[in-house]
Amino acid sequence: GQQVMQIPQYQHVQEGEDFTTYCNSSTTLSNIQWYKQRPGGHPVFLIQLVKSGEVKKQKRLTFQFGEAKKNSSLHITATQTTDVGTYFCADLGSSNTGKLIFGQGTTLQVKP
C-alpha cells in the first residue's frame, strides 16, 4: 500500500535557526495535510495543500506541495522554543472515508 515517508526523524536546532521537514511518497499524493503535536498533547491540524506546486504561509511556517505531487515540505524560519513538537504530514487516502495516511513524523527540539 501507499507509504508516506518523512525525513528527518529528529532535528535539534538552536533557537533562531531554520528548520525543514520533508514528506515523500512513491505514488502521487492526492491532498497533503500537516499537523503539529506538542509534547504530551494531541495532533493539531495546521494546513492542507491540494494543488500541484502550491505554497502556503502561516507566519514563520511555509508549506509547499511539489510540482509532481509526490512530495511536500514544511519550513520554519527562525525557530522559537514554541515550535518544539512533532510535525506530521498526511495524505488523504480516500475522500469517501477521509482516511489519512500519516508519515512517521519529524520531532523538532529547539535549544534556547
Binding site: Y35, F45, G98, K99, L100
Partner: protein, 111 residues
C-alpha cells in the same frame, strides 16, 4: 463550534481486564470518526474508522473493537487487555474538507 471529548484522560489497567474508551463530538452532524493509537515517541496508527452509525471499518486486526451507537459517539473496547495495548489512544473527527480534529487522548498503561 465543534468540540471533541475523550475520557478518561489516563487509565491504568491490569492485563486481562476489559476496556471501554468513549469519544463524543459536539457541534457537527454525521462526522467521520477515527480511533488511532500512538506508541511512545512513534507515529499514529489508525485502528478503526466510521462513516456512519453502526458502520465500523477495522484497519489492523487486533485485540480491540469499536462501535458507533449514536451519530456523534464512538467507543473503543477490549474484552481482555494485553500488555501491547498500552499507548496513547486518540479519537478524531473529520470535516467536509477532510482535515481531522483530534480529542485530548487517553493514556492507557496495561500492567
Amino acid at each position: 463550534s465543534q468540540t471533541i471529548h475523550q475520557w478518561p484522560a489516563t487509565l491504568v489497567q491490569p492485563v486481562g481486564s476489559p476496556l471501554s474508551l468513549e469519544c463524543t463530538v459536539e457541534g457537527t452532524s454525521n462526522p467521520n470518526l477515527y480511533w488511532y493509537r500512538q506508541a511512545a515517541g512513534r507515529g499514529l496508527q489508525l485502528l478503526f474508522y466510521s462513516v456512519g452509525i453502526g458502520q465500523i471499518s477495522s484497519e489492523v486486526p487486533q485485540n480491540l473493537s469499536a462501535s458507533r451507537p449514536q451519530d456523534r459517539q464512538f467507543i473503543l473496547s477490549s474484552k481482555k487487555l494485553l500488555l501491547s495495548d498500552s499507548g496513547f489512544y486518540l479519537c478524531a473527527w473529520s470535516a467536509l474538507t477532510y482535515e481531522q480534529y483530534f480529542g485530548p487522548g487517553t493514556r492507557l498503561t496495561v500492567t
